[in-house]
């Protein structure tokens, strides 16, 4: 019933008024045409040209992202936005009766995961663009397959030193390349769950049978107290 109703909404038959000449077969006139009703699903949302990222790499050399640079950029930004939203939700919410926060330390783990993924993609993007400046270009296959933030951060530092931007490569909380490396290493140390899943997934091709073997007493506690 619902299906037929939706079909009624989609299809409309209406006559088409066509100016014809005498040599045209008149049976072709007034044929119903099928048009799709313009619903909210068919209408494409307007995309701002300013916000739409452009592909950075124009080189003919093989790249780690295989031409999906804009999509990866958008994905990384979405991860970052999601992490920011979750951080806002985790702000202290005291229970009126007990006077204690209802959240647990584990609530911060998805935030760590989102930030980690976003940082990994951003590091890869920077290495992909900047490895042109190095004497030996980073292997695109290794770059696409690695999940090591430490390794990526090391290459980023090499690139920044190579182009001489050490003094400009600063932001809030990061005043040097050493600070940057330390921060990235800290993020990587926060993330035992992802590493456990990935290492298990590499051994077992069936993701349904992956067991997460990690110690709850390790840095997961550390990650939660950081936020």
């Amino acid at each position: 019933m619902a299906r037929s109703q939706s079909r009624k909404n989609e299809i409309h038959a209406r006559p088409v008024c066509i100016e014809v000449h005498d040599d045209v077969d008149r049976t072709l006139i007034h044929q119903p045409t099928t048009i799709l009703k313009k619903g909210p699903m068919n209408k494409k949302p307007p995309i701002s040209r300013i916000l739409k990222p452009k592909p950075r790499t124009r080189s003919a050399l093989p790249s780690w992202h295989n031409g999906a640079d804009p999509e990866i950029h958008l994905y990384a930004r979405s991860l970052q936005n999601a992490a920011k939203t979750l951080v806002g939700k985790l702000e202290p919410q005291l229970d009126h009766e007990t006077g204690q926060s209802p959240r647990t330390d584990w609530d911060a783990c998805p935030i760590v995961l989102l930030y980690r993924e976003a940082i990994e993609l951003h590091l890869k993007a920077l290495v992909g663009e900047g490895s042109n400046f190095l004497k030996t270009r980073t292997d695109p296959i290794s770059l696409s397959q690695t999940h090591s933030l430490r390794w990526l951060a090391q290459i980023v530092c090499q690139i920044i030193r190579r182009v001489g931007w050490e003094s400009d490569f600063t932001c809030e909380g990061v005043s040097s390349l050493a600070d940057f490396s330390a921060l990235v290493n800290e993020v990587e140390s926060f993330d035992p769950v992802t590493r456990a899943i990935r290492s298990a997934g590499a051994k077992d091709p069936n993701p349904a049978r992956i067991s997460i073997g990690y110690s709850t007493s390790c840095s997961s506690q550390k990650s939660c107290t950081a936020f």
Binding site: E91, I111, H122, L126, E129, V156, V163, L183
Partner: protein, 48 residues
Amino acid sequence: MQFAKKLHGVLGLLDVTADALAATWDLQSEVSGEEKFHATGTIKPTIH
């Protein structure tokens, strides 16, 4: 919260730096291409 702010800052920094590297590389490529073009000297000006 402070750590999250730091990470936001780093993500922005990485993004801007990647853009700057791409632009620098493009600029260098264009300059070197023009230099090569002018350096060849095999193409003579058209005389009308």
